[in-house]
Symmetry: C2
Subunit: 146 residues, 2 copies
DNA sequence: ATAATCGTAGACAAATCGAATCTACAATTA
DNA sequence: TAATTGTAGATTCGATTTGTCTACGATTAT
């Protein structure tokens, strides 16, 4: 039970895009180098974010990725679910016969626990990052992004 | 990012033990049959619960497993962590150079999100199950346990 | 004691999933 | 037209999860 590395890459990429000059497209190469990951693999992950409507991509010479919505409209939960999917964390498969699951408390407790985490992640927006982030990190990213 | 099946088995076993007559040891066979899982595999999972001090085991003819603590002293979190471990859900491995991680907000957001879920799971005790559980389920278990 | 019962441990095998690579392709711009 | 850049799919690699099998140790009934 761990968040995948893909989620890690997605979050770091979004942080990078948040810190980059608004409207500027960033190629996958600097994004990948920044995280020591292969560009093609990162591209595959970012395509999921594109399909989720969080970022936009443009091909061509000065193409790349940029945010598709305002920084206060993109939550951590959006990013994570775009990569990990929205399925329930607790799979209560058909272990025994039906009629048994009525009012089951295991399931409701697990669902609520997951909901607690998701609600918090939904409250945390990208704008919170750029507001409170340590200057050191932003400088680094901006230098890389020119 | 899903809870393992082992966690599922552990939770259902604990529910069974909660519903069983107090003090009575339940063999691994009925517990395994109840969930359609192999007895030896389930035993391996339950051994983790034993080592965590949540249940106790006794060999011999009338042996089996029973709760090792009172029902209000065992939380969902105890059970889950005994099986899944206590490592952080978000692994922010060494992606880039040091000095970068100071005051990182990705990490703190993810840690807090996890904490939200864990705190809720810690509040939910086994006693809450037996208090509010649907009678249908308890009857089934009690019938099986004689 | 002895034998039956039951949990424990470890080696091992199978299946699943995550991570990553490679290659060919499509879209855009200079 | 050529260079650049993202996209898509097949495929490989490795780790983890899940499960089996077998031998062992502890307890109890006879
Ligand atoms: S008893 Fe509850 S947790 Fe178990 S399978 Fe049924 S609904 Fe799911
Ligand atoms: S920047 Fe933050 S999330 Fe990324 S590796 Fe450093 S501490 Fe972890």
């Amino acid at each position: 039970m761990k968040f995948s590395k893909a989620t890690n890459y997605a979050l770091h990429t979004m942080l990078y895009l948040v810190a980059a000059p608004a409207g500027k497209s960033i190629g996958v190469r600097p994004l990948a180098e920044f995280q020591n990951v292969s560009p093609t693999y990162l591209s595959k992950i970012l395509t999921q974010l594109v399909k989720a409507g969080l970022i936009a991509s443009t091909p061509g010479v000065h193409g790349g990725y940029r945010l598709a919505k305002s920084k206060d409209a993109i939550s951590f939960l959006d990013i994570i679910q775009a990569v990990e999917g929205t399925a329930s964390l607790f799979e209560c498969g058909p272990g025994h016969d039906a009629g048994f699951h009525e009012g089951c408390l295991i399931r409701s407790v697990m669902a609520r626990a997951e909901d607690r985490m998701e609600r918090y992640l939904q409250e945390q927006k990208l704008i919170d990052l750029v507001d409170r982030v340590d200057g050191h990190m932003l400088e680094f990213i901006r230098r890389e992004a020119q």
